[in-house]
Symmetry: D3
């Protein structure tokens, strides 16, 4: 079984990111311990093993840490991105020189643990809504430098992505309205200045604001901090003319009620800003 193909962005974006992470860990002098303690010709057989159950994300990205240090390692993926695994499952097997395997271990585990943690949490919440049409989406509350990867992990978890940044959609929030003089002038200014291929969403806090939004050329409304009951009314008012998004303080406990209100999307900042690390380890044997 050969290493599966990696996506186009792999070499362009993710490999540089992992290279930077390795440089951060190796500093100026490299892996003092391994270089001193492990003979250059020592061989090893290592397994990346899940320590708990979860959804895997970022395995190929993590494996780049090993590949960057030694292009001759033999790496076989057993359960890659998107797999739901039980504790004890072997994700990949690595054979070759012992030194690069040991040196790359922590860098690989750090990225794999974080991304699989996001995918696992996303999959859990998405699973509770499997009979509904509502999608779970992530926000821009991501780790500096890791946004594209964290949004990828959300997709692997079955979630969907909201904006990747400030430049790919318009979202007019309450703070914008403070200085824009109200919803209508804000939307009109946006419509006049923004390209045809960009969607416009506005945040509304009340049903009155929603009523006004429905008279404006917007594509979506963010219904902020509304109760399920209010959301239900809002969805009825919208009547399918716009996309509806619920946001604000939604937890695993309340998400089902929010979804049942009929919104198209529920956005959850905690999917990416409060990540429980997925526990993965490197089981290592002399070979």
């Amino acid at each position: 079984m050969t290493t599966p193909p990696v996506p186009p962005l792999y070499h362009l974006f993710y490999v540089p990111l992992i290279r930077h992470a390795l440089e951060e860990d190796l500093g100026r002098a490299g892996d003092l311990t391994t270089d001193a303690v492990v003979p250059a010709d020592a061989l090893a057989h290592a397994r990346l093993v899940a320590r708990g159950p979860g959804r895997i994300a970022g395995l190929e990205v993590a494996l780049a840490a090993f590949r960057l240090l030694d292009t001759h390692l033999h790496i076989q993926v057993e359960h890659g991105d998107g797999a739901d695994v039980a504790a004890g499952t072997t994700l990949a097997v690595i054979d070759g020189a012992a030194r690069p395997i040991l040196t790359a271990e922590r860098t690989a585990l750090n990225i794999l643990g974080r991304l699989s943690g996001i995918a696992t949490a996303t999959a859990a919440i998405v699973g509770t809504l499997s009979d509904l049409k509502t999608e779970i989406v992530c926000t821009r509350k991501t780790t500096p430098g890791l946004r594209a990867l964290e949004k990828y992990a959300v997709r692997i978890g079955g979630g969907s992505n909201h904006r990747f940044g400030l430049d790919d959609a318009v979202l007019i929030k309450d703070n914008h309205l403070v200085v824009a003089g109200g919803l209508r002038p804000a939307v009109e200014r946006a419509r006049a200045r923004i390209g045809h291929m960009v969607k416009i969403e506005v945040e509304v806090d009340t049903l009155e604001q929603l009523a006004e939004a429905l008279t404006l050329p917007v594509d979506a409304v963010l219904l902020d901090n509304m109760s399920p009951e209010t959301l239900r009314k809002a969805v009825a008012m919208v009547g399918g003319r716009l996309l509806t998004e619920a946001s604000g303080g939604i937890t695993p406990e309340t998400v089902r009620a929010v979804a049942e209100a009929g919104v198209d999307m529920i956005s959850l900042g905690w999917l990416t800003h409060t990540v429980k690390n997925f526990d993965v380890a490197l089981d290592f044997q002399s070979a």
Copy 2:
């Protein structure tokens, strides 16, 4: 009150990091919403406000996001790094052009939420050991690209730092021993190859291994996954000749018992790998 001085690394390291985070958020086309909706000459008065209680870390780093977009903003720090604040506390006040404040908001909050989250969790655990000499230390289980900042947040939380990377101390772990042929040859190889100014620590899993380690020229022992009872015996065996570090599966519930066993350090991976975001918001008014 003027902006307080920032550390030497601020301009060298942290500003580039924040610049990169802004670039990640702004993409090719910048903040479509703000540029379209907010007049160029609109002024604002904004406050960074804590939404919960905690220990602040990274405020100056976060403020760099605003400063990078507009050097003319007036920024006044009210409660900076190290402050313990209640919910509702204003951390900083920002006055000036509305556009850069809105554009930088999310980037600033992302870094401030993460670092203050680490400091808050660290302060909580350190607080439970205030009558003991044991120090809480973090590990290399950090976010790619953010290690130095996350370790700084741990220090702000009252914790201490273990290795910054693979190159500033030797830590001989179980996987190294697998290919090094045992504790003694591993330590001897390390001692022969490593500079005088570098400390050597070895991981031991049993008291037998500890007994062997005590015959070797090491500076510290990592006592891995030992019960408080075993740790107490280990500390007694060491008798102050070496530094002792407890590690492995230690939780807020068990940390006090581990510390009472008398170890010098307790290392906790979750301080940095499983961070609860600290909730901060930007309260924004037209000015």
Copy 3:
């Protein structure tokens, strides 16, 4: 009159780009001629002067070349981005040390000539459609490294922007259909995988294809290489339900007829891929 404010992206993106352009011109040894021939304390009074009529774009970006070499130059903008100027108009006046003015001259003129050339050509074509609702949009046929600036110049010229890149909207073209098995499966795959905030456009070459597209959940249709007559029929078929874009071989001579067919957008690759440089010069006097 002071230097006007510059946009947020100025320091983040455009200054590095100009820095890179200066480095490209200065090489390893710098401006041999100026450093040898011009005394360090020589002062100059210089004017950036339009040599022909046109729409100015990129003046602040071009001025960064001077500012990067000498922060003490006094620069006064007379006619900035968006101004329509006659030949002989002074755009900016620069006073200060002679050396940096001479060294930055070519770098500044290269960027200003290119961006103003794009704005001028765009303004000319947009002017011919001023009584119609059709917008002129640019494409991804831009110069490597200059896309955001060239799209900015199109906006300054009164045009609008289509996609900034492959990641901010979906455009299913004929080549995609070759491997996707037809329009319907292509659109369905896209709809299933793409976030809610991203628009989907499909290219159609015939009215039959258009009829099929109208049954699918798309936001826009690109009507490729159609005659004005066919476009008129297409616009009638769409009936305002989708955005319509005409594309393919449209010239200044044919653009009016295409617009009169009633499409929402006309995309023109030549706005950015075949630029007539706008002639600007630096008039230089000893001071």
Copy 4:
């Protein structure tokens, strides 16, 4: 037929440039359309085809866009740099995974269209002087970031290169004279400060200035904005002792008369600042 060898600078300079162009097009999220619409295992057979007649330049550089995304593509060059092709000529054939071919298409065409446009225009003008010794040279009026490539395209077109930047030759222009106190002091300052291996050229606007230049230790004279008649007198005055260069407002219509005046070089800014894109397309079939 195998891919021909690429020049030494290919990997050092041109590949990073193309990588940057891909990053500019791919943004944070990559090619949304292709990744959604085209199956990962779809194969394609694609041909880069000239849509008009011209001189090819930059084919290998353009092909780097494909190679960077997929090292397994099979690429066969049919007509590479320097070839004069008719409309419809296949330049290269690409076989392999459909996704990377589609994703790299625009980036590759943008660079190939620009460089072949320069080569084609240069070849046309050079062709009109084939019986004369005068060389066509380009200037520093190039696109920021692309100077070396654009100068390469000029060479492929049969032209020659003037200075690559401010650091590889001295060119004393009118603006320098304004602050240097005249031709003689300027040249003397230059000669005293510049290394032996660097040539010195001075710009002269009149035959009187030329007479003075002929008394000074310079290697070349730039005869600015002179009529063919005046140029003829200038060439006679120089008598082969210096290189002569004609510059300023020379068009395809006037270039032959200028060349017949006997100058060694004619420099044309428009070769690189006003480029007509060469039309190339990717013909794409499922395979």
Copy 5:
């Protein structure tokens, strides 16, 4: 015989450094001479030959210059890092295209000459102390950008490394004491703020200072500018409780006497700040 394995940092750190050195030498236009004079298909057989006796260091790093320009060169290492060679010894044989060999020559020789110069000087001084336990260590007086490589060359020469930078150990020098209020408060501040795994060294200029240092929790003392006689007393006072380092004005003539005083380390700034280049040449034949 195949090319020996290269260290983990090779691809991460040293290849980028050599790439940068090549870029510095190639400028914008590349190797004008070779590209013009040498046919693209010319083959060569070249040998890197030592012109004097010495200890080789940096051979693999130097060879990266060739490999970066042409991955098809066949390179065979005869005497690699650590070898003691006589004048005339062939270090490596390179076969393949003539152009990349000629273009990379100077870049490769510059780095190999410098690093082997450091190794040779280190080996000479270390050789004079072979019967003593004292180690020769280098300092932070290194060339900007080359610190890790120069410290590597010292190790290849048989020396040891002191701090790699300001961040991997504490060294309290006289200038620190000026503002810290004396040795005791300085050490106490350091001990309170620095992680457990970091060693602390203090500089002392007199035996009185040494006596105070011996009462403080430090790991090492730097005995600055002391005579061998004073050093002997200092070593006796320390009695093995701390590491001892002699520093300050020690030359090849005095180093033996200093070592015989019994110190653990002698630090020599001139190992890296005043390097005699090791003479290596490329013997080149047509093939």
Copy 6:
């Protein structure tokens, strides 16, 4: 007295180089010692003092290390680049916060010591030829990353610069002739391919080769490893028609005899490849 103006390249090139050097020294965690031991509000008065006699070069570049860490330091230059100073001379006085002064010290001294060492050695050799027209020139045997600075130091020392890299002049050496089929075809190929503004030099080892070179269109001859007597004959043969350069094994002892042979240039690799560090120190007082 204010800080004197710095050259245009200062901010573009030298500041990034010093920033990189600081990063190399500061690592991930910064200056552990200073940050721990020196209070944040401690002030200092420091002087950069020459410890020996010599010619200063690189002072402004070195001072960038201090400025990068603290823009509020007050720095007064007493003896800048080009000054000949005696031991004990104060070069610059720095007042302000103690921490940044201590942290930048070593980085500043490393660059100042190296560049002043080059200038001092160059000035010494140039001084011995003050009554002759021969110029001392440096080579491409420079430190990776520092070429432009080292060539600048040579100029400050009164020397002149040969090529800055492989791209700014043609130098046909013996190895090129091996594969080019002799001097004439090599020169003819070069002349045909190289721009008019680039000089061509050929290396000759014998007077016979020189005779051939004199029949070819070259600008300079490198007379390699010839005795003063042979050089004298060579200079006579050339008769001022070409530039003459002596090279190969020339030492301070032999340089006068070589110069008296009448060559235009003498190139010395050791000016930059074997540098004796100039001793500078930071005298530091509490303020």
